[in-house]
Symmetry: C2
């Protein structure tokens, strides 16, 4: 169980960058951000300060340029947000969510299908 708030839209965009390049300075993160659109450096800085305040990222302040890192892994965040969506829109049923997800999609690779099947078998064994 984690206690952290769900990241907002903008926070999630920043986390996505951090999961690739962190640990990183604000400058490094900001360089990535401005590849898709204008933003001030101080905007990025403020976002990270707020995220730190919320506990979404941890930081090392030993040096002048602080080093930031996500508190949760990408996988843990995926789990958290799937859980949230499941509860708020799928009546708490993960299989309902999965069914809808599979039904929606029409371009799943064979290798991925196999992976899903394998996982299904594993889940099945446990019951």
């Amino acid at each position: 169980m984690n206690n952290l708030p769900k990241p907002t839209k903008t926070e999630l965009a920043i986390l996505n960058i951090m999961w690739v390049i962190s640990p990183a300075t604000v400058r490094q993160i900001h360089e990535e951000i401005i590849k898709n659109g204008k933003t001030s450096y101080t905007t990025t800085l403020k976002m990270l300060q707020v995220m730190h305040q919320k506990g979404l990222v941890i930081r090392n302040s030993e040096h002048k340029a602080h080093i930031y890192e996500p508190t949760l892994t990408k996988k843990a965040t995926q789990k958290q947000m799937l859980e949230d969506l499941k509860n708020r829109l799928f009546g708490g049923s993960i299989s309902s969510l999965v069914l809808q997800a599979l039904g929606t999609n029409d371009t799943t690779k064979q290798s991925e299908l196999d992976e899903i099947k394998a996982l299904l078998d594993k889940v099945e064994e446990k019951s």
Copy 2:
């Protein structure tokens, strides 16, 4: 392709009620809402007015008490929000999302597993 904004947290809570009892008046929807927590009637009314403004609900104003209904079905909204989550947190890969969802969960019913498998086979045939 639909053009509607993603419903906010509170809007989604209202939509969940409407998918069960709509078409419905503000009063009817509000009665459901106050079953879990206090809210003023005018708050519910305002939410519905804003949702109508955004196109999330349609309404019939022939009578004094307007009749509201969601614009999209629950299924269409599920699809929309899964699509959004997929793009923002799963690099656009639905199978990655499904794998994570199945891995997270440990209480899937056998009947649901069978349903998922059947759907997988169907998806597979199309390739």
